[in-house]
């Protein structure tokens, strides 16, 4: 007998109790709404059930589940991108980004001075609320590329494969996402702090 197969399967109720909230938070940091995050958590546990002997040892349980969730998230992002192909997102110009520069290519309004030090922000819960709003305001393909690259550190070639785009497309998407995010955060956080 395969020793892995004969290992006792983790009871699903216990898995849900131990990891449900953590997986939910992980998913919610990467999708736009709670219902989608809940669905992804459910799919993760169901997949874990199907492969319930696929991990060894208590310590790796969370890592194992997060790994499954990451696959589900990739599927989800890809599907969302394929739902509405390219239009307004990649082939055409990005009006918001183009509006930041004048005809001659200079800033319409130069970057403002920020009071807060971005380096200290990661500890502020309110900052992440504003960040989530700005992230959700991104066109979906930009958001998908940015999330995979910046949040999950997915290698560029994998993102291109997932989203069905070329590396040049990816750099354009990331460039636009960064410009939009920065502008949105400047407006809603650095200049005018939103009370929580």
């Amino acid at each position: 007998m395969d020793p892995v197969l004969s290992a006792p399967a983790p009871p699903p109720d216990r898995l849900l109790a131990d990891h449900g909230d953590a997986l939910f938070r992980y998913a919610l940091g990467r999708v736009r709404d709670e219902a989608t995050a809940e669905d992804l958590v459910q799919e993760t546990f169901l997949a874990a059930l199907g492969a319930r002997t696929g991990f060894r040892g208590e310590s790796s349980e969370r890592t194992w589940l997060i790994g499954i969730l990451r696959h589900k998230l990739c599927d989800h992002l890809r599907k969302r991108c394929l739902e509405r192909p390219l239009a307004g997102d990649l082939d055409s110009a990005d009006v918001v980004v183009d509006g930041m520069f004048a005809q001659d290519g200079h800033f319409v309004s130069p970057p403002g001075r920020w009071d807060a030090d971005p380096a200290e922000l990661s500890q502020k819960a309110e900052f992440w609320v504003v960040f989530a709003k700005c992230r959700d305001a991104l066109p979906r393909r930009q958001a998908a590329a940015f999330l995979m690259r910046q949040i999950d550190d997915v290698p560029a070639e994998d993102i291109c494969k997932e989203l069905g785009i070329t590396p040049t497309n990816l750099w354009v998407l990331l460039h636009r996402a960064r410009l939009r995010l920065r502008a949105c955060l400047e407006e809603h956080w650095f200049v005018l702090e939103i009370p929580s």
Partner: protein, 94 residues
């Protein structure tokens, strides 16, 4: 050159450098522009700092506050789905 190489291009290179290495020529172009342009220096500093902050926050699991939990309804639905799958799965095994 400076008419062609405006802030739009400098910002593009500054952003690109966060995601993959620039070529030598691109690095020189960017550095030349930054030396002359206060706005782009500010942009690059802020953009880099934000990028680091976001990466650090994501790594530390700060994107969503730890007080956020699955709703009882969602937890119930998931538990139900798991039980259902277990039952049908067991039948298949038999």
């Amino acid at each position: 050159m400076s008419a062609i190489f405006a802030c739009r291009e400098a910002v593009r290179l500054a952003n690109q450098s966060l995601d993959h290495p620039l070529t030598l020529i691109q690095r020189i172009e960017l550095r030349t522009h930054l030396a002359m342009c206060q706005a782009c220096r500010v942009y690059r500093r802020q953009s880099r700092a934000l990028s680091r902050t976001i990466a650090r926050g994501a790594q530390a699991g700060l994107l969503v506050p730890v007080t956020v939990e699955l709703s009882p309804a969602a937890r119930g639905r998931i538990a139900q789905a798991l039980r259902q799958r277990l039952t049908t799965g067991d039948q298949k095994d038999v």
